[in-house]
């Protein structure tokens, strides 16, 4: 079976020209070497080449090829976050995201392509070296103007496209220019090949320069372009003549292309540099038009002009645009020169804030819209995230606390649905550190609640508790908002977790009154679920059931799927506590599709584990295996150890239900060891019950032995052992091994060392002969004399033998030959 390789490589925007041998060689290098860095100046085509290589190398990487774009990442902290986003790793409590990445990547045959590392060389070097040490089958392909300079890095200098000469007038650079010129609608470029050749030489074969020149070739002949750019060189040719020729060529070409722009095009290009990520026409109009130099109605035409000139790239998907890094830097300089930076970045902050608030309101909690209609807004908000970061940076830099806090608040609610709150802590800390005079008190109160929300997910409960009280205190002075309800919800979590039940109960009552009064169904659901948990905790399952049913009814009325899933999973827990396995199964399975749709894979893993546990207790073993395997894969992919612990506990339940007490004890031990490694020390009561049962049946000594072995084993191996057991007694229809249908993961892996191909190939007769002679300790010269061939030929044969057998020295060949009887001639 051929597993479908996963990747996130974009489709190529146009034809890839030339570099065939380079691509083939790099493909081989990427498989063999651990880090390959494509280095070279901007515009030389590193990114495009890397994407091509990554796509060609796909078959060699069973666990996927993933592109992580770092050009728009300015904060080193965010590199890990960006990688985690791409790989689907989610944050977890106080655990670092980096640990999650290690879990996700350990043992997988994965290629990570980090594009544009140059502004983050040191943090990238540290991160890459660390991951390589932990993940033996991981490979990196990087693009960077500067190499990382870490051990084991293979630096590959990307050259320009081949230049034409007398013998090769059809060199890569010429083919590239002609191809792009034709795409730009130029007709007669091939009529004057000598001019094309002159132009390619003048542009040093730099792909970006050729691209910019080709975009103009429908109006200007290649000869005239070459002349004009030549003139510009003369202007630039001051100082260092040779050191950075390619950079100068590129700068000259970008400048030439820029100077040919109409005035309005120049205005738009420099203003577009404020966008951090991709933007659409509407955003460009809002941020860049001023009703004076550039009117709103003109933006579309001007933007299309820039796309035609290859200065702005257009993506078919959703009509979004972006600027190439080199161009963006150039444009940002022009923006500063024009004295427009502060105004434009301020405008960008305002627009992004308004957009985010719109997304927040439209997708938000109180409207009774259908879920798909709301999900659109959540997705849109997430796409604004890069610009949101840039805008918050500007808010901090320019001291615009109010706009910054409003933006952070709107963005937070959008992030919360997927459970990513960690980053917002940094935003709030920086923004709340600004001069807050003039900022409305209510907004400060709201912000403190947001900060407490993030801190709670990071387990910083003391700080969260102090902030949450201040936040509620402040917000209570103003008319009720849904956010106050949410803040109460955070307070409940914080105070229940810190054991201050009295305070928690007081807030719960306040929430119930306030939410009911304002018909805030979302937060009423939160309150009911809190009541449910409390009743369960106090051993009153019947009351819990009642609260659960109320929560479900409320959630259905709000139509908010996140709430709905929460109500369902809590009802399932209640049913399980009451011993009604059938109802538990019904509730949990109803929540699955909702969580899938929300892409909340952390909750999904939890829910699958619950389904598995209930199925095991109902003796539906094949179903239990399916769910638990799925849960384990999800937790591994999202890098969450607490999820793996949950799956192991459920596997222990499964083993016990099947009468495999040994397996049950081993799995419980593995779960316990992993739980302690993430700083959770509360052993569940079930483990104690299991152990005393096992001691009765198996004896003290055997249980101690099993426990020790479970602690020492890799959790993945323990899980595999139980999952691979004959698929449930009495069910022969189920395939015995469920794992091949799952993506390979460190814990449930079918790939791994198998990817290391044996380099055994038969030796030729001559090679066998020479291998035999080496057993006698002869030098190349002596072998050559015996066989009447040149020493160089002997050396070549020896190298061939070493390559075929994967050996590192001639001595190894001699040993091998002796073992295989080649010495007896």
């Amino acid at each position: 079976m051929t597993p479908q390789v996963q990747h996130n490589l974009p489709a190529e925007p146009n034809r890839f020209v030339g570099r065939a041998r380079d691509v083939a060689e790099l493909c081989a290098l990427v498989r063999g070497e651990r880090v390959v860095t494509l280095s070279g100046v901007g515009g030389i085509g590193k990114t495009r080449l890397s994407l091509r290589v990554a796509a060609s190398a796909l078959p060699g990487f069973a666990d996927g090829v993933w592109l992580v774009q770092l050009a728009r990442v300015s904060d080193p902290e965010l590199i890990v976050k960006e990688m985690a986003d791409v790989l689907g790793v989610r944050e977890e409590g106080s655990e670092r995201l980096l640990d999650g990445l290690r879990i996700r990547l350990r043992g997988t045959r994965t290629l990570l392509l980090l594009d544009n590392c140059e502004h983050l060389v040191e943090p990238c070097a540290e991160l890459v070296a660390g991951l390589l040490a932990d993940c033996p089958e991981l490979r990196f392909l990087l693009t960077s103007r500067e190499p990382l300079r870490i051990p084991g890095e293979l630096i590959w200098r990307v050259p320009p496209l081949d230049l034409p000469d007398e013998r090769h007038p059809d060199a890569e650079s010429v083919l590239f220019f002609v191809e792009r010129a034709a795409a730009a609608g130029a007709r007669a470029v091939t009529d004057s090949m000598p001019d094309v050749i002159r132009l390619c030489r003048a542009l040093d074969g730099l792909p970006l320069a050729l691209e910019l020149a080709a975009a103009r070739s429908s109006l200007l002949s290649p000869g005239r372009i070459a002349d004009r750019i030549g003139d510009r060189f003369k202007l630039l040719t001051t100082g260092d003549r040779t050191a950075h020729a390619r950079q100068r060529t590129l700068l000259a070409t970008v400048e030439w292309s820029h100077d040919l722009l109409a005035r309005k095009e120049r205005v738009l290009l420099r203003r577009l540099s404020v966008f951090a990520g991709r933007f659409d026409l509407d955003l460009a109009e809002q941020v860049c038009a001023d009703g004076d130099l550039l009117r709103r109605g003109e933006v579309l035409d001007v933007l299309s002009g820039l796309v035609d000139k290859s200065l702005v790239l257009h993506h078919g998907d959703g009509g979004r645009y972006h600027l190439l890094d080199t161009i963006r830097h150039y444009a940002a300089e022009r923006l500063r020169e024009a004295g427009e930076e502060a105004r434009l970045r301020g405008g960008h902050l305002k627009v992004i804030c308004a957009e985010m608030e719109r997304c927040h309101e439209a997708g938000s909690l109180d409207s009774r819209l259908s879920w798909p209609a709301r999900a659109v807004h959540f997705a849109k908000g997430r796409r604004l995230l890069d610009d949101c970061r840039a805008a918050i940076d500007w808010a901090v830099e320019s001291g615009s606390a109010e706009l910054g806090l409003r933006l952070a608040h709107a963005a937070l609610t959008i992030l919360a649905v997927r459970g990513d709150l960690r980053e917002s802590v940094g935003w709030y800390e920086r923004l709340l550190g600004l001069d807050l005079s003039g900022v409305p008190d209510q907004l400060i109160g709201v912000a403190k609640g947001g900060l407490a929300y993030g801190l709670e997910t990071r387990d910083e409960l003391d700080r969260a508790a102090a902030l949450i009280e201040e936040s509620i205190e402040e917000q209570r002075r103003h008319p009720y908002t849904q956010w106050l309800g949410v803040t109460y919800g955070v307070a409940l979590t914080v105070f229940f977790r810190t054991g201050q039940t009295g305070t928690a109960l007081r807030y719960l009552r306040e929430l119930e009154v306030a939410a009911a009064e304002h018909d805030d169904l979302f937060n009423l659901t939160t309150a009911r679920i809190a009541r449910l948990n409390l009743a369960l905790f106090q051993g009153q399952p019947r009351q819990a059931q009642r609260f659960g049913e109320e929560a479900l009814a409320l959630a259905m009325e709000t139509g908010h799927h996140w709430t709905l899933a929460r109500a369902l999973t809590h009802l399932g827990a209640v049913a399980e506590a009451r011993g009604d396995l059938e109802a538990a199964m019904r509730h949990h399975t109803a929540a699955l599709p909702i969580l899938e749709e929300l892409d909340n894979r952390v909750e999904l893993a939890r829910c699958q584990a619950k389904v598995g546990r209930v199925a095991a207790r109902s003796h539906d073993f094949p179903a239990a295996r399916r769910s638990l395997a799925a849960s384990l894969v999800l937790s591994t992919q999202t890098g969450r150890r607490s999820g793996v612990v949950r799956a192991l506990v459920a596997l222990s339940v499964l083993a016990q239900a099947e009468g495999d007490l040994d397996g049950a004890v081993v799995a419980a031990a593995a779960a316990s060891a992993l739980r302690e490694s993430i700083g959770q020390h509360d052993a569940p009561a079930r483990t104690q019950e299991l152990l005393s049962l096992a001691r009765d049946k198996l004896g003290e000594g055997r249980v101690a032995l099993l426990w020790a072995s479970g602690i020492a084993q890799d959790p993945g191996a323990v899980a595999r052992r139980i999952l691979d057991q004959k698929a449930g007694v009495g069910d022969v229809h189920e395939p015995a091994n469920l794992l091949p249908s799952l993506p390979a993961t460190p814990f449930v892996s079918s790939s791994g060392p198998a990817a290391r191909e044996p380099r055994y190939a038969t030796l030729t007769a001559r090679e066998r002969e020479i291998a035999g002679l080496l057993t006698e300790g002869l030098s190349n010269r002596a072998v050559a004399a015996q066989l009447v061939i040149s020493p160089a030929t002997v050396a070549r044969h020896v190298a061939n033998i070493m390559e075929k057998l994967g050996f590192g020295s001639r001595a190894q060949i001699a040993v091998w030959a002796a073992e295989h009887g080649l010495d007896h001639r």
């Binding site: 060689e25 084991g152 590959w156 050259p159």
Partner: protein
Amino acid sequence: MVDSGTGLCLTEGQLDERSAAATVQLRRRGVRAGDTVLICLTVGPDLLVATDAVIAAGGIVWPVPAELDEGRLRDRIMASRARLMISDLPRAMNAARESWVRMVVSVAELHSYPVSRERRTESDPTGRRTKGDCEGV
């Protein structure tokens, strides 16, 4: 062969052994029959090993004297149109900056035995240099 600078010597067996390993390294980096390979090293055993290895890999040796200044080095490197250069000299690395050289292989990398593909890069190959094996002979 004796290195006149250090007095270290290299036996024929060692030469064969090292150039065989170096050949495998060159092949792994894509050197094929007919490829031009630049060698910019000071005269000594390493130069000999590198030369033998390029020939055994089927390549064409394009030696560049290590004493040349950066400008001259650049001209020769450009003229060679080589894809690969063997050198340890910072001057040569700078000179190769805007050329067609894709990879610069150091002497240490050339000598790193490809014992195991998987583990080779774990430790820095510079630790494996065995220069001076027959010191005092």
